[in-house]
Amino acid sequence: MEIKLLFTILISTIFINNYVLSQLLGLCPFLGVSKKLDSALGMGLAVIFVMSMASFFTYFIYKFVLIPYEITYLRTIAFILIIASLVQLVEMVIEKVSPPLYQSLGIFLPLITTNCAVLGVTVLNVDSGFFNANLGLLKSVIQGMGAGIGFTLALLLMAGIRERLELADIPKNLKGLPITFVVAGLLALAFLGFSGMRI
């Protein structure tokens, strides 16, 4: 039964409640990094990793520090500091282990701190009550990973469309950001179709 529940969490965070296209989180990197396919893929992979790790660490901090000392109102400040130090750590590890990957990701890594989808998923983990649930740690990490995969999916779709949009004949005033928003709206409309899915 639990396995089925975990699978449900994964599928629903990727498709039904896609963080970008139906919950409107993480829009700045979604519009900023979706100009080219390869940088979109790099950004997406980094976000999947940071989201899973952030879900993992915030689970422990929330359950074993914030709840016992009754300072849960400090969760925003605690979580943002965890995410910021995590991003810093990831940056240092990647720089040491694989310089080529660091070169290609370089500029996007620090940007992940201000990606509101990352803070969003940790706060949503708290709001979904995973901290008292059975297998809570696994559920939090799966929700984090699913959110990351959903973000990457949306980013890749958008990057593919935008690369073709460059060549399209668009009215002068609609070029650039306005047409991107309209296209994102159509993508979101397509994702709305998943909301009827039953699993």
Partner: protein, 200 residues
């Protein structure tokens, strides 16, 4: 004269959403009704102005390489103040805005203004900058929310506009948000093209 320029910058020439394209998540997510948009504006403007004041006060004693964590901590403290105040006095607003209240912390506008403006300018200019950026942000939110609420729910401030008309549900959901903002940016470009590059 200088203050007037700062004020106009925030509202029109450097409007955070329409010109700089930052702070988009709360813009699209909370504009399902005009009253939500107004509360969000109030919360964001409060955090923006207060953090601008504090950052401007400590600008000379902050070591440059750890300034970002310090700014984030300042912003997060003011966000917690807003969160607790809303929970205590306006619980239904807190419920409607939900996760987007804690997410004010990662609103790029606030960190952007601390870094770009408040850490280089005097306290008075920083207050005016915070207020004008807040107004610019709020105006965009209210216009967006007006179209989405009237078209998507057939309501304004909770009152039904045309009895018996079936509203277009799409406008209140995610696709409507994207498309409406797309059209707003288009309108902005048309106005700019018509009156020169936004010059006075």
């Amino acid at each position: 004269m200088k203050f007037r320029q700062i004020l106009l910058d925030g509202i029109w020439f450097k409007n955070p959403i329409l010109v700089l394209g930052i702070g988009l998540c709360p813009t699209l997510a909370v504009t399902t009704s005009v009253s939500n948009a107004l509360w969000m504006t109030l919360a964001t403007t409060f955090v923006l102005t207060c953090s601008n004041i504090l950052v401007s006060m400590i600008k000379n004693i902050v070591p440059p390489h750890i300034r970002i964590p310090i700014f984030i901590t300042i912003i997060a403290s003011f966000v917690i103040i807003v969160e607790l105040t809303l929970k205590a006095f306006q619980p239904q607003v807190d419920k409607a805005l939900g996760i987007f209240i804690p997410l004010i912390v990662v609103n790029c506008i606030i960190l952007g203004r601390s870094e770009e403006f408040a850490s280089k300018n005097s306290i008075v200019s920083s207050i005016i900058d915070g207020l004008s950026m807040g107004i610019g942000f709020g105006l965009t939110l209210v216009i967006l929310a007006f179209f989405r609420e009237t078209l998507g729910a057939n309501k304004l401030f909770g009152y039904t506009l045309i009895p018996g008309m079936e509203p277009s549900l799409m406008m209140i959901m995610a696709p409507g948000a994207f498309i409406t903002l797309g059209f707003m940016l288009w309108a902005m470009n048309v106005i700019k093209a018509k009156f020169g590059n936004g010059g006075e």
